[in-house]
Amino acid sequence: MKKVDEYLELDEKLWERLLELTGGDVAVCYQCGECTAACPWGLVREKALPVRRLMRYAQLGVEHTDPDLWLCTTCGQCQATCPRAVDIPRVFKSLRQIAWEKHQVEKGLPTTLWSMYWNGNPWSQPPSQRASWAAKLDLPVFDPAVHEILLYVGCTSSYDRRAQKTAAALVRLLRAAGVSFGYLGNEEPCCGEAALSVGHKPYFEEIAENTARVFKEQGVKRLVTVSPHCYDVFKNHYAPYAPDWQPIHYTQYLAELIEQHRLIFDQALDMHLTYQDPCYLARLNNEYDAPRQVLAAIPGVVFYEMKDSHIDGLCCGGGGGRMWLETPSGERFSDIRVKQAVESGADHLVTACPFCLVCLEDSARLLPGSALRVLDLAELAALALKE
């Protein structure tokens, strides 16, 4: 018999906590290993991310604060493949929450949370400049009595120069459709998703409570988000704070406007497109159709689906807090994705998430000999408006 050299300490209290934090899901896993096979990290690394093993640690109440814990992008590919649909990303986030309690987190993440605390955004940008991107756009201050929707821009599209173009394009589209909308400007509170995705649930709850209170005071009922991450967190994690509002992702709203004949595209675009389903819109919130409806309404474009599309959509690598961590080149999912985009026959890769936009564009730039352009759907649609 083989001698056992390593012993694992089983902690009953930890086991109970993890059971609670994961909503019981951790007990449902029967260790088939489909998750490890499905995880995109297996595409970019020799050794796949040992998802099954992490699930086992969680099941047994074994502490795990290894670096692989922070690789997870929470893309949900594992959950979609799991025969029991275990919420595996939630298990990862629960293990992360324990890691925070022990101050054993990936370098760079405390800075991200401190930035949210002192600056109201995870990007270490000044709070007084949140609305600077809109300085020349003359956006009206949100008034529930007058405005159909609140435009919720979110931190990334407010501060990242590339993503700001998406917000600006969306404003053009809303105006072209005659939508009466308002904006909270510098007072726009952070949705808190960054805290939730890196596993700091208590801090997320604090942020959410405050944001919900601001929305309540402002009389927000219907809000349109630029980022699927903000959309996901408002839709699925704000229930304890705001039962009566309707968050909607901008692609869904544009689809609605198109259906109502409020938004019309006059300009034909001679482009060959493919579309990246953002994990947080598609797989996690089951929204595959609305963006495709918008694309279908744009005259002149030819559309191709990439390999690994729809529920098998390949993550860009930005979720789960990875936008604030360094992913070494050669290990980026987005490098594979842009190759798939080119292979599909497209010359333009369209997406609907600021993280996807930034990650994919970075990868497209590095793709040798390629002229693939990466665009956000709002930017594309804005091009199709009559001048």
Partner: protein, 340 residues
């Protein structure tokens, strides 16, 4: 109001300047201080005195005089061979109590700041930090210091009426170095001090100084992005010509073309060069963060929509790989024309 150890009425009409040196050479800041000190002294009709601490400083004292010091106090002691705050504060304190200068300037270098801050408290006088300008108020004869605060957003003018010496640390690189005047005559005054080993409370156990890459201190940054990936040599040539360093964006580091130590940006180095020349860099904000503090930013990129142009002082829309050789040639021409 607590008084300084000596009053304005007791001051000697001298501007004193602390002269930092290493391996028998003055640090640039010392020469800058002599230059500015000369100007202030002339305006006031005062003398300019250099305070020179070390183990053997006679040759340096001659140099100080050649740089227009009227006097040099040579404070020599074996325990002053290397800078230690305890020994230097003690020696400087003794000197100042004896000499009672009206103004005492030091460089805002690490050693200068450490020394000045301790000394000012010991002398119960004021200290203006990291000054970017110094003037004399014509009506009062008092020195006015210009400093910046709040991340550089606010400029303040500071003075002290009743306390002496009026102390200030001066930001290196602000004041010019005056040309040497080899015929200038001055006095070398040896000032002996007593220093015991026990006074020096800190002990150096290990010291390691290497010629490692430190982009944070470079006065000139030549940074390259994907647009110049094919030709790093151009960047290196330009950097060498201008006495600077080469930096790069993440893609170049990823491609293995350049060391990670040279990556500029949010997950790399943040530097504050006088000038940053950004070639073939699109300017995503995680890069911009690394050069935000640069004095002047020049951007060369073939994409007119590149976000770098929003963050540059001078924008050139063009192919960096073609412009760089032309720029190098123009710079060579300039140097050749300015001989003699």
């Amino acid at each position: 109001m607590a008084a300084s150890l000596y009053q304005p009425e007791d001051q000697s009409t001298e501007v004193w300047v602390f002269l930092e040196h290493q391996d028998d050479l003055f640090e640039n800041i010392s020469l800058e201080l002599l230059g500015k000190g000369r100007q202030l002294a002339d305006e006031l009709g005062w003398q300019l005195t250099g305070l020179l601490l070390g183990s053997r400083v006679s040759k340096l004292a001659d140099q100080a005089i050649a740089h227009q010091a009227d006097r040099v106090w040579m404070v020599e002691h074996p325990l002053l061979e290397r800078f230690t705050v305890d020994a230097y504060a003690h020696a400087a304190y003794q000197s100042i109590l004896k000499g009672k200068p009206g103004i005492f300037l030091l460089g805002a270098t690490h050693d200068g700041r450490d020394l000045a801050a301790r000394l000012a408290v010991r002398l119960r006088t004021g200290l203006n930090a990291d000054c970017t300008d110094l003037r004399i108020d014509p009506s009062t004869g008092v020195m006015i210091s210009e400093v910046s605060g709040f991340g550089g957003g606010v400029l303040a003018l500071i003075e002290m009426q009743h306390h002496r010496p009026q102390m200030a640390t001066v930001r290196p690189g602000v004041f010019p170095i005056l040309k040497e005047a080899p015929d200038h005559v001055g006095e070398k005054i040896p000032f002996p001090v007593q220093i015991q080993q026990e006074m020096i409370r800190t002990r150096v156990i290990e010291r390691s100084v290497s010629a490692s890459i430190d982009l944070t201190q470079t006065p000139v940054l030549v940074a390259g992005g994907r647009g110049v990936a094919a030709d790093l040599a151009q960047l290196q040539e330009l950097a060498e010509m201008l006495g600077g360093e080469v930096g790069a964006t993440r893609p170049l580091v990823d491609m293995g073309i350049i060391d990670r130590e040279r990556q500029i940006g949010q997950t790399g180095v943040t530097c504050s060069p006088k000038i940053a020349i950004c070639c073939g860099i699109s300017g995503a904000f995680h890069f911009i963060v690394g050069v935000e503090k640069a004095g002047t930013v020049i951007a060369i990129n073939s994409d007119p929509e590149a976000p770098i142009f929003d963050n540059a002082d001078y924008c050139v829309i063009g192919d960096a790989q073609k412009i760089l050789p032309a720029l190098a040639a123009a710079l060579k021409r300039d140097t050749e024309g300015v001989r003699g």
